[in-house]
Symmetry: D3
Subunit: 245 residues, 6 copies
């Protein structure tokens, strides 16, 4: 892991299949990056307008455009609470679809952000295939963004680490956390972001409890006893380090 | 990973099934720890006297005691080159055997060292079951050393990370490196240690080349372009961190 | 597993990549559902007209339309023998292709059937990628059918279990059965269905023997000694139960 | 899964490496079996006297015999709250050891109980090798108890299912739940059992929250919306069933 | 795979946990080696006297010595039918136990046979832990037999391939065949060997059918259409070859 | 593995995602096939013009057509050095795309070549999704080429084995070699081919060293001590054999 205290500004870029995913699953990581002075950017591939907006569809007379508008507002508010920029690609959900034009734009966004770390969903979530597509899209776009011969105003990127954030049912998705992130210092930011997601209020308590459970595990894995809340993530690529202690 | 530059002295403890393993597979990590001012200790469970001393047995009239004596001298010389302390338990090799008394002593050594990081072989090497036993012994002894009710002058240890170093045929052992350690600054120390192992000279070139190959991969995974040599390791437990960038 | 004896009618929906798959691999499960008074429906994504109709193509002058017509007749006859309804989507085989329109229709069919259990192929069959596509299509369509914001006359479905039926070479496909279904009471129905498949007669003996072998294993795993024939299936999702005994 | 409502009394037998494990990890399953009129028996291989009794060792002047005595009393009280019989083998912990005599007694206990379901720890917990040994011992003893030629007053057992209960850090142990057990009706019993474990009070809130999280997942996997608490378990062997719906 | 037609006599050595395993699971491989002029040797670690002799124990008044005597006679007869030598170590079954003395003898037997190929059970059979111990013992003894410093009249062995033969429920044991052996030419020998096993007659039909099913798969995987019967095996180590076609 | 010495001409067909992959990863296998008198054919899905031509793009004023032209020339020269025919499909890289027309052509090429062995990339390379697509395309096209009802002048193919060649970071791709191919006799051909790839000169030393390392492993796995260089490959399907020795 890179040290962050030397004034070098870095960049985190998060791919969220639906506009709520980044809040529940990566809100702590995003707020941590922002709080430590780095750039944090979020790309929402869709608004989760069809599949993850139950709270809105329960209102009589609701229509797709309104759902998307509300979801956008909520996600913007959540991103602001976390200290991050947010971009919406509006590619549709349930199922999400990424055509060539959208893919090309995603490559551009990656090159523009030139991230040190990318973050997205797991590779294989049997409950939610939109998550898989977000994962695959990120890996493919990362590869293209590295290609020296790819057209573009921005130069090729290096080899950013990719983190997968925690899915709803981790064991069913082959998720094995190798990074427990202490989010105690930013948990109020994450809570504020969660509270912005009115269409999914039922999840707030669930993810608050999950953060405590991951916090207990962080302490059990040698973390500081002061850790209360944590987020679980899984790095895909090996890290490169200059020390083992 | 813990930063090491603040004067806080930490401790690395390495379990080597045979007296050469720590040199070929973890020499860079050990030298790095020592070079950065930390304690580095090695426990050799055996001398590899029967199974890994071909060079010596080729001498006419060789006997077991002589092999062990030479292997001890070479390993001491190698440890010195790396900057580490070394302890020999002389438990026999091919097959290695760890009885209750030996196990008890190992627990004591772990408590005494109070390591921040433990290091040993992979869990399942089809070529070499002594390696597996070293792995299992370390995990069991770590567990006992954590027990509050275990007799002992030393207090229970915390939850040190465990690293597995690279086996000879990584893919056959399910080894997937998640830590590529830059050993460029200490590679001369590792080479000196390797050259002390006269019974296995044929391995020097092999492990020198391997270090270069892992170095190339470290650069490809986002490491500094100045990296020439690296060692591959695999952390078992999640790391606890306070930043993602 | 749900008890079925209380008069509550349930629904099984089977996705068959080619028009024979449901017979060989799931005929017992389908006949069991029908025999117990439930709805059993089959969706054939293709007729297997190009890849699984050797017996027909060996006739001189055979053409694609004739093969499809015969395969349809045989599959209808097999479905009738099993007691199930059957729908043909005629999406082509070798390779199977599912475009947006077909996908949309599949979602409609799932909502209409409102199944308690879905059944299809494994995720990764190296011999037959049409099987994989059927699997992926089912998981994606299940997800969309659950979305509250998805247009449709029918309401969103719940969370039906998904079963994978046995592939030809189970070990090569990562298939690990966790459900051995006693098909002794309906085996004559399955045999009648198999005998309807004239284009693949060579498989009848093979699958009759397989049923006996799985029957032996069912007894060995604690099943009633009266079990003669069984079918192996693998549930994807955890089951929810109110008892452990 | 077997139906339980017809007056046929069945038997559950639980292997607990330490005297608290059965409470935290399987208390709901045990209470469910008891509540439904079945026999529930627990075998504690050790008292967890050295490794899982922090709360007691923190008392000045504590000694091993006292810890064991208190742990026994607490476990008896917990078993009573769950409605189960309990047997203590006192084989030692951290590390647990099972010698030939103990193994033989365990086989006798299995034959005597003639269980329909056995329950124990996962196969590979990197944090706690006592758990692994409990798992291995159960599988070996089950095999011996099935042998027709094994001496014994009791006849050979059949082929009882084996369930693994949830470890502390599920993903690190390769635990993939395939059974979410509704423990809502017996949760007060489980809470009472947990409250008996004074040496590990810090775990009560943790496992209470975990039960709620598994309850949410049970509903998400198609369980009744009335489920509040659940326990996650993983069956090792395929189940044999007579229906798919 | 080595060509065998050039008059070079090779050696196959099979470890059988119980005295019937080599017949059912490896009889075709053994007979093939013998038929082609090679040495085939079998080591029975036990007679399977307690766990795999149901047919004998059903006789009133049966005792352990008689069972072992009959099992020995049957296994000798089976080995003769296959054209192999057989050695009995009588280490006990259910559970099998390999003490130091037995292990030492096994190493001697391996060195004496100097095998080109070793063959045994899978690593992890949840139904039968004796099989696992046979596997582990073979890998450990192979390692010791390779050690230059190991005492012994015979010189160290090279690096023989290890094959695992098919367990009863392949998918439950992680068995993935990578070698389908045509046993058509020797099937009558295998049948004769199977018929010698009076205590397990119920298995003859089962394994005869299995051979046909594996034969069908061999043809499907590119084998000659003349193949009727096959045996499935899994090589552990990579093969070294001089051609890819 | 098939014997090759009897004058029967066989056919190897290699799918290379980019025009350099076949050289670095399979050059030895291709040269071996050619040297032994067989047909060796290479299909380059793209020129690797955007992603694997750094050496060319570093020249000022470089454009895509020139890169492709140079890459074609180099690949033709490399193929010639190896003794193979080469076909370029020019489907684009970073990302590679295979449309229906291209897929159809690929099926034709497979039928025309009627290969005994197919060779391509691994299934899951997190660094390079073009490799995955090449793998998937090969498995799908193989399946279609086997279909009796598929239009075409050429008859259906049989069941050719599929080999995966070694990816850059084997452990990250789940690559487990089960075939170490002795390429000592053809290494000069492979070197000549590598030297033709001017755009990737930095890889020559890397792959020369890798060949030596794999050579050492081949000897360690029982290969002839005369082996200097080897290539690692992984067969997907079981091999069918008539001997175990």
């Amino acid at each position: 892991m890179t040290t962050v205290s030397n004034g070098e500004k870095k960049s985190l870029l998060v791919f969220s299949a639906h506009s709520g995913d980044f809040v529940w699953r990566a809100g702590g990581a995003i707020a941590t990056a922002a709080e430590q002075g780095h750039d944090a950017k979020i790309i929402c591939l869709s608004f989760g307008e069809r599949g993850e907006s139950q709270g809105l569809w329960n209102n009589p007379g609701m229509d797709l455009d309104t759902v998307k508008k509300v979801r956008r507002q909520e996600a913007e508010q959540a991103a602001e609470a976390l200290g991050a920029e947010i971009t919406f690609l509006d590619l549709g959900d349930y199922p999400l679809a990424v055509d060539l034009e959208a893919f090309d734009r995603i490559v551009d966004l990656i090159r523009e952000a030139n991230p040190d770390v990318l973050m997205t969903h797991v590779a294989n979530d049997p409950y939610n295939r939109d998550h898989n597509l977000a994962h695959e899209t990120l890996l493919r776009a990362r590869m293209v963004a590295q290609a020296q011969g790819h057209k573009n105003g921005y130069p090729p990127i290096g080899a950013p680490q990719v983190l997968m954030f925690e899915p709803h049912q981790s064991e069913m998705c082959g998720f094995v956390p190798n990074l427990l992130l202490d989010i105690t210092p930013v948990f109020e930011r994450k809570r504020a972001a969660m509270e912005a997601m009115s269409a999914q209020r039922h999840l707030i308590e669930y993810y608050t409890d999950l953060a405590l459970r991951r916090g207990v595990q962080a302490v059990r894995n040698g973390g500081s006893k002061s850790i209360l809340q944590a987020e679980a993530h899984q790095r895909i690529f090996p890290i490169v380090a200059t020390a083992v202690l």
